[in-house]
Amino acid sequence: MSDVVSAALSRLSQVPGVRSALLVDAEAGVPVASELSAGVSGEAVAALAASLFQRTEQAARDAALGGLGSLQLETEDGHVVVAGGRQLIVVVIADRDAQLGLIRLETDRAVEALR
């Protein structure tokens, strides 16, 4: 794992409330690097998050809203934040009461660092 990737993942994982963080190859939908909590399938999350991101980006373009920066899912028990570009996407899984502002900030920083 390169220093840049390692540092980006480490910063994201240290945000309070973050359960798992992944860097995903957007085109292949496979994890490049990850820090996962127990019971989380990195391969499954990577595949589905990449698919979701691509579909949402397509929807945004079809709606004449331009490219997609990030998307956020709210679930019963937490949040999933996905952000990125053409090559790599960042996926963060966080507790329901996590500080989403901080997570968004660190996610954006990770995306910038990986560009």
Partner: protein, 165 residues
């Protein structure tokens, strides 16, 4: 090698194959056994085409297995070929009765990760089927050839004019 139960297998495999294709967004999918016998397919329109792909899939699986042995890699998981517009995914999995091979062809509407994810779910479902629970006794080559022809006839009989499983 399968024998006279091919017709029932085609029926049993129809739904898992349909779900795999829908969820993975693959365009073409083919399930064969280690002998290259076609058990299920989606998206092929020609009998000749599916026979070629089935034979090549069985050969690729056999070659990859030997290569894995030679290099000490143990079992191989999948073969992925990324073409310019289409990608090929070929993966073996073991059931109690025999080894099976899934071949899927997909484009930019899907990803390797998505196909691999739903392949794992497909394989798990097939392993649970009672039709794949018992070890099969060997059959003669001539009987196998007859079943291969009959199996292809059954697979292509209902949809000669278009795509579908």
């Amino acid at each position: 090698m399968r024998r006279g139960d091919i017709e029932r297998l085609n029926e049993v495999l129809r739904e898992p194959m349909r779900v795999f294709v829908r969820e993975s967004r693959a365009h073409i999918a083919l399930l064969v056994n280690g002998s290259g016998q076609v058990l299920a397919q989606h998206g092929f329109v020609g009998r000749y085409h599916v026979m070629n792909v089935a034979a090549l899939a069985a050969a690729a699986n056999a070659s990859a297995r030997v290569l894995a042995d030679l290099t000490g890699a143990g079992r191989w998981q999948y073969l992925h070929h990324a073409g310019r517009s289409r990608q090929l995914f070929l993966a073996p999995f073991v059931t109690p009765s025999e080894e099976l091979i899934l071949v899927a062809i997909f484009d930019e509407q899907s990803t390797l990760g998505l196909v691999e994810l739903f392949f794992q779910r497909f394989a798990s479902e097939i392993r649970r089927l009672p039709e794949f629970a018992e070890v099969l006794p060997p059959v003669s080559a001539s009987a196998f050839e007859g079943e291969l022809e009959a199996g292809l006839d059954r697979i292509f009989a209902p949809q000669q004019s278009g795509e579908g499983s």
